[in-house]
Amino acid sequence: MSANLQLTPDGRLRHLLTLEGLPARILTQILDTAESFIPVGERELKKVPLLRGKAVFNLFFENSTRTRTTFEIAAKRLSADVINLNIATSATNKGETLLDTVANLSAMQADMFVVRHASSGAPHLIARHVAPHISVVNAGDGRCAHPTQGLLDMFTIRHYKGGFHNLRVAIVGDVLHSRVARSQIHALTTLGCPEVRVVAPKTLLPRDVDSMGVHVHHKMETGIKDCDVVIMLRLQNERMQGALLPSAGEYYKYWGLTPDKLKRAKPDAIVMHPGPMNRGVEIDSDVADGKHSVILPQVTFGIAVRMAVMSMVAGSGA
């Protein structure tokens, strides 16, 4: 259903809501297009005229500095006009419904909505109700999906490893609450990665983990052994209160990525993290700043990937 909502009848990307069900052809096209946006970011004049005159509304019903900023930079580098709405502090507090908010912004001649929402499925709901010329890009919804993060992670892996077909990838940490992990798993599987591992304590794994086509590991040492890519997930501090975990210190001891634990991965392994990092909780500073870390390039690539997604959905109505 999402796939149909996301693609035009002739198979072009109409909205980006989730990576689940998107064909490898589309994922690869996004990564290839992003590749062509990389040199634009390296120029002195970092702009192309593609979305000149288009109005992109950043609808953030949940706080996020990095994601909102990179979407804003991406839209501006495409020459779009960007309007940032921090909805957490505005109309919905006065009782307006989500669809009324969207209808009002559509009346202001919006061309694209970038949506971050605490409720899973909110971007889908908006996509079903917008006018044919308006595109929706999911910037993270509940525990469901964070497709542009998943895509920038794929871009990063492809950049450093050349492809997916011989890779062993470990996703470590709070998979249960992570929309990022879900998007990564869908993308890796679709792009032909033969071994995706999730490495986490039982309390931080979703119940349906067995149906996701991944190998489950409950020990860090075996979980990242011989891996080409180690993706650390952020431990969301608020989870501590839910009795899912004893303490941050305890978590670091068993699940924090230290230089010593990293030795079990391949010598040329890359370490990724979607940010924001908790140093000394899920990742040691020596790893975060070390030679295996590609965490900052991930951020740079994220801009090119978001430019690719926005230009593809904006052109799909043509």
């Binding site: 096209q29 290839d32 297009t33 062509s36 634009v40 192309v48 005229p49 593609l50 230009s311 043509a318």
Partner: protein, 166 residues
């Protein structure tokens, strides 16, 4: 005019361009056919001048009508455009819209001293005030006719002329 042999047309271009080459020149090809022609020109002219490639997909004037091209290649201009004499190279000159987009893209890298245009085939049918400074062949084709440069697996260039569906 016989356009069967692209190599002859490239020879003709080389003869026109060679006397004008200076140290502050650079070659820039437009993807994909223009890059092939540019590489052939640069090789035959034998001058060690900087080269670059442009993909105009992000600068097309029909984006809102046809969307983004599914296969975009990165543009690479590994030299300072500022004050360079740029020889812009494409395979076929038709409406002039590609050249317009390429010039806009080039200016986003800097202000060249000059831009001159070399094309393998000028087929007529311009929709913009753009003309080729150098052309391997100049034809007047009907709108339904289609000329395209192809490169086979061995790297050999071929020109195909189709009457199209009239």
């Amino acid at each position: 005019m016989n356009i069967d042999n692209p190599n002859q047309l490239i020879d003709r271009l080389v003869a026109q361009i060679a006397p004008l080459m200076q140290d502050d020149c650079a070659f820039v090809g437009i993807h994909s056919g223009g890059v092939w022609v540019m590489e052939a020109l640069a090789e035959r002219l034998g001058r060690d001048l900087p080269t670059g490639t442009l993909d105009i997909s992000f600068y097309r004037d029909d984006f809102s009508r046809i969307g983004l091209h599914p296969e975009v290649k990165p543009s690479q201009i590994p030299f300072d455009v500022e004050n360079r004499h740029v020889l812009l190279v494409d395979d076929v000159l038709y409406t002039g819209r590609t050249v317009r987009a390429a010039m806009n893209l080039l200016f986003d890298y800097g202000r060249p001293a000059s831009i001159r245009l070399a094309v393998l085939v000028d087929r007529g049918g311009r929709e913009l005030p753009i003309c080729a400074d150098f052309a391997g062949a100049r034809l007047e084709l009907a709108p339904g006719q289609h000329v395209a440069l192809l490169r086979d697996d061995a790297g050999e260039l071929h020109l195909s002329l189709n009457q199209g569906a009239a």
